[in-house]
Amino acid sequence: MADFLLEIGTEEIPDWMIDPALADLRTKFHASFGEFAGDALQTEATPRRLVLIAKDLLERAPDTQAIAQGPYVSAGPKAAEGFAKKQGTTVDQLAKAQDAKGERYVFHQHVEGQAVNDALREKLPGIVAGIHFPKSMTWTGRTGVRFIRPIRWIVALLDDVVVSFEVADVKSGNTTRGHRILGSKTPVPVTNNTYEQVLRDNFVLLRADDRRSRIESALGTNVHHDPELLGTLIYFTEWPSVIRGSFDSSYLQLPREILSTVMRHHQRYFSVLKPDGSLAPEFVAVTNTDGDPDGLIRHGNERVLRARFNDARFFWEVDQRRALFDRLPDLDKVTFQAKLGSYGEKAKRMSALAGELAEALKADKGTATRAALLAKCDLTTDMVKEFTELQGVVGGLYAKTQGEPEAIATAVYDHYKPVSMEDAIPRTLEGQIIALADKLDTLRECFRVGLVPTGSKDPFALRRAAQGVVKILFDARLDLELAGFCEGVPGLLPFMTERIDFYLREVRDFAYDEVHAALAVPFGSLADLEDRTEAIHYIRPTEDFEPLAASFKRIKNILRQAEVEHAAGVKSELLVPGPEKDLFQAFEQVREQAAQSSSYREKLTYIASLRPKVDLFFDKILVNDPDPVIRENRLALLYSLLTEFSIIADFSEIVTEGPRA
């Protein structure tokens, strides 16, 4: 057994690429060296190194038997000799085996397993150079190795022996490097056993978890909990330390959104909160140093933050010189999309669409249309040019400051929401309307000019826009017929339907066939669709439902075979007393009950109660009666059953375990 250590030393790797790169390295290593066992694969990384540790590798891969197929015995001795020679043996060493065509020579060869060092030396260059990065570079020439940043050293040790290979002109060895500033100025030798300690002595904490603990234990009190930022900082540092700085409380007059954005997104600082949850005039920064003994780092960071906040205050003041609404004409100069013209045009379309939506949803049309016109105006402000991630939010804040009604300000503020499936939808109906108008406009216009997502390519994030529309309609239970807003745009309704399907399955956890059964019926509002899906889900475990679903499938087949496409109306006088007449009467009764009920669960319960009658009908009655008049009438009965109850769902979509018709 031998332990293997691989350290790929690089220049600083972008934090967000590190975990995927490690996963890829692990997969590739396992695929190449699985036969050496070594289940205990560990990977670790800092900004400057990707590390893989494989414990207890076999010294040699297990031997294997190879079987070479030779000529048939009937081909004669010459052929046998030729084959034996090719295999490096003699005819008397060959065995014989029988197959469909006769008896043939075979040669059982014992293949010795490869030594682990040889295997590593052979395959590691390809594995290292093959690690996938979303954006890579060359540094040794146009046709050289591609990696995320230049590789500067490689440690490859099998126990204490160097596994020699070369990648991008870098030879593997047994020396690593410490922290850029605090560590040894020259490469430091390591062994498998000393590796981690040598790094530690040179101010590198190899393990992400150790760096996390070191940061967490130093964060101090009242620090805003921000796991995502913490996760980033772990891959920004090799020897993290924490400093706590402060800023003048007069900056707290700026909106919290702006202060937080500056601190978090631009400076990667944690905010500090007062007991009441509001911002305290303090921040916490994570450095890649061993403390800050002279307070210089704190001083420097405070100075930068002050400049940033001053900028923000300056932008705020300059931006207030022009009202948001007066900026509308400026949007004509802001590109929405090359093929789709300017944001000015988009704002006008959004406003018209918001008006239609407001009418359909019985909201105040004036509020909706004005909020839609204002929504994109903040794109021309200095604040949004500087803090693009605050688009919408800034518009909302400015609208409020400039005396726009609260409903308008809130709608503008929220209108990019939801930005993900986890994000909340806009808080108010007007906000929901503007968000819908924005996203639907983008979808309609992009589809109109053929900018449609294909495969994994979705440069205009249309899936996200569609998912946002769907989430708003479901979560707010808006009484809106989506289909009407997709009219005249080929491909859009099916695209939206995919997102609806996804939402019901992945977010609401309905089974796919329940969703398909509900979606097979043209849908009005998504709230109604969800209620129908929910009712199917509810009724499904009851004993009558799945057999009834199977019967519906049978009915559908019978009608298809008989080519019945419209109802002729059931003539009750032609019905034969017994199962047939019983079914019809039960049907009429259930139809009545279902019509009077306002709950889909109840409706479905009534429908399911038909099951015994349906079963009996199929058991006793021959639909294809020799008398065409009777036959037509029976088909009409089945047709009525199917259409009447398919308003809720197409039950034939339900996957049943029982016998199928």
């Binding site: 020439g141 500033i181 780092i297």
Partner: protein
């Protein structure tokens, strides 16, 4: 405490000691040190080259009439090109910070991913913004493509933001308070520039004149490029003057943009026009430099 000019002297000395040619700024309006021919053209082709120079860089849209303590219409970049990039390039860079008086053991240095792309130059690269105690002081880029061509000798481009670094070193809150020379403030040297050019760029520039100029320079550049294609002996062909015309167009585009004179539909098209000139010049330059051309000459 070092003045603005002291810091520049030290950086130039540092890179001169490491074999860089110390050039003077290019004498045309450019938006960044990258656009000076010492970078844009020299990174192309197979010849190694190390060079450093200060480049006053004009960004008309960034002007703030001298009212903002951190924003300038024209700022000073110290641009270093190391072609090819040496293996210890980052250590050399960190050494330059020590050389201007930054004790790295007492400060926090981080390299944050920042990739660079200049569509008008057909150029891109990957790299970092270098953060010193939370302040972005340098753009570091490994060029990958320039003038639409993949680069074989991959250069490192180090761009120091001089105002920021010196304001940090001098511990002042406004760039205008930087001491440029003993007893002479940055404001004394440059404030009038900022006030007057902000006014011109945003308010006074004559749009028709700018468009006319753009078209004239574009036509001259195109004329030269067409001529180049037909010329056999290219040794003395004015490729560099053609590039001057492209640079003029780039600056005029920035002015028109700041002036709010470029509509949406025009914008993409105008960028494409400038790019076409830059890429055309880059290709002509490479053709002129190639060994077969030189043998023929």
């Amino acid at each position: 405490m070092d003045t603005f000019q002291d810091t520049i002297f030290k950086l130039k000395r540092y890179w001169a000691d490491r074999g860089a040619v110390i050039q003077e700024p290019y004498d045309l309006e450019v938006g960044a040190g990258t656009m000076a021919p010492e970078t844009f053209l020299r990174v192309l082709g197979p010849k190694p080259y190390n060079v450093a120079y200060v480049q006053p860089s004009r960004r008309p849209a960034d002007g703030r009439y001298g009212e903002n303590p951190n924003r300038l219409y024209k700022h000073q970049q110290l641009q270093v090109i190391l072609k090819p990039s040496p293996e210890d390039v980052l250590d050399q860079y960190l050494g330059s910070l020590e050389a201007i008086g930054i004790d790295l053991r007492k400060h926090d240095i981080k390299f944050e991913e920042d990739n660079w792309e200049a569509p008008t130059l057909g150029a891109w690269g990957v790299g970092w913004q270098v953060m010193l105690d939370g302040l972005e002081i340098t753009q570091f880029t490994y060029f990958q493509q320039c003038g639409g061509m993949d680069l074989d000798l991959v250069p490192a481009e180090i761009t120091y933001g001089l105002e920021r670094i010196v304001a940090f070193l001098q511990n002042v809150e406004s760039v205008y308070d930087i001491e440029w020379a003993p007893g002479v403030k940055y404001a004394h040297v440059r404030l009038a520039d900022e006030e007057q050019f902000s006014t011109y760029n945003f308010e006074t520039a004559d749009v028709a004149f700018l468009w006319k100029s753009f078209e004239l320079h574009e036509a001259e550049c195109q004329r030269l490029l067409q001529l180049f294609a037909k010329t056999k002996d290219r040794r003395r062909f004015p490729v560099l003057p053609a590039y001057d015309q492209a640079l003029k167009c780039s600056n005029l585009f920035n002015l028109l943009d700041a002036r709010g004179a470029i509509s949406v539909t025009e914008r993409v098209a105008v960028i494409a026009r400038v790019r076409k000139l830059a890429v055309g010049v880059a290709e002509a330059w490479v053709a002129q430099q190639s060994p077969t051309e030189q043998e023929a000459a």
